[in-house]
Symmetry: C2
Subunit: 231 residues, 2 copies
């Protein structure tokens, strides 16, 4: 049995709580970060709060092993005086939408092998994709995630905007979006690259630019150049 | 029975040929665009050649109804003197990978209702998502597809590059890529937007920029600004 204390009220805390509640071999307690006076003991204390609050919250915890869940913060952002670690799940969580933890990569960091093993054990109880990731690697993953998630989603928005202007339903693009995402899991994105930029099809590129507003043109131009430069 | 003549040697011609061969109610013939001397008769002649070759190839066809498959070209790019149309499939096709035509939106255009109906009939024999799309709308879809497919794939490449530099396997990002794509089929991309840009989290944005090369920084900056401007 592993005892887990979850601190936080956001999406990550809620989804983890739900997963731990139904898992065998875990006894979980969840508290708000606004109520840290009487913190119960736990083998692993998971601080799932905003990046800015990690230092303050962790400084008040006396439990033996405290981890945060942030992709952007180093392990030393934790200010507890006991053991520290990171339990970072590289996935996008949606409120009120159930999470399939088998589709969640767990990126784990600890100060020693014993604690690393404990985190892995915890990860494996609710999921299956477990990675050992140090703070430098995690930072790289976090910025890479901004590209493949936040920025990609913004390109979907732009596509939606372009469709709306001509009264075309965005749903026509859904299968393409899905297939594009699916393709890079079997083919490297470099090899999967298609389109007018990589073909240097100047006529199509010019036609496309004529259809766009200034900000869309800037995005189009910079991404086309980057594709052509090969990075 | 609909007789179909396919002209072309690329991915689209091959995949369409395979689909028509196994379909009921279709008799399909496929020829190369380099051999147009004795073109057999067909109810629908589909020219699946590069955009630049559509005019030249179509000008040689005497069959009653000639359509191209290009998202970028207008219907009048066809130079046959009989009926014209467009049979545009908005999907990315990979060589040697079987296509599920139920996941392919057929964007169809014809000069009159009768021919439109014939194209729809053809589309429904191999697929199920049939749309009537005029030349202006198709151009919008084509440029939108560049954003959600070509540019998105390039963002995957950038993510891959960032991971490689730190020795992190790109596969850690696969579930996030899939979930991001899946999310916008149930939630609008505007509502699905998350991340440091939309939160205006300047500290994280600065940390991210520090990890990137100049071209990546340019992409990061312009997309962050575009997210913050709300378009």
């Amino acid at each position: 049995m592993i005892t887990v204390l979850l601190i936080g009220n956001g999406n990550i805390a809620s989804h983890l709580h739900a997963a731990f509640l139904t898992a065998d071999h875990i006894a979980v307690t969840k508290i708000s970060s606004r109520n840290l006076e009487h913190v119960p003991y736990a083998d692993i204390t998971i601080i799932a709060v905003s990046d800015d609050a990690i230092a303050e919250v962790s400084s008040q915890i006396k439990n033996p092993f405290v981890v945060h869940t942030s992709g952007a913060c180093e392990i030393d952002e934790l200010k507890n005086t006991t053991h520290k670690g990171v339990f970072y799940m590289l996935q996008t969580f949606t409120k009120n939408k159930e999470v399939n933890f088998n589709e969640v990569p767990f990126c784990l960091e600890a100060e020693n092998a014993e604690k690393q093993e404990l985190l892995e054990k915890l990860g494996k109880i609710i999921g299956k994709n477990i990675y050992t990731v140090n703070s430098t690697q995690r930072k790289a993953l976090h910025v890479a995630a901004v590209f493949v998630n936040n920025f990609t989603n913004h390109l979907y928005s732009t596509g939606n905007e372009i469709c709306k202007k001509q009264g075309v339903p965005f749903e026509i693009l859904h299968p393409l979006i899905k297939e594009t995402a699916s393709k890079v899991t079997s083919l490297s994105p470099e090899k999967a690259q298609t389109g007018p930029a990589i073909r240097n099809d100047l006529k199509t590129i010019k036609n496309h630019l004529d259809l766009l507003n200034i900000q869309q043109q800037q995005i189009y131009t910079i991404l086309t150049k980057s594709i052509q430069d090969g990075h």
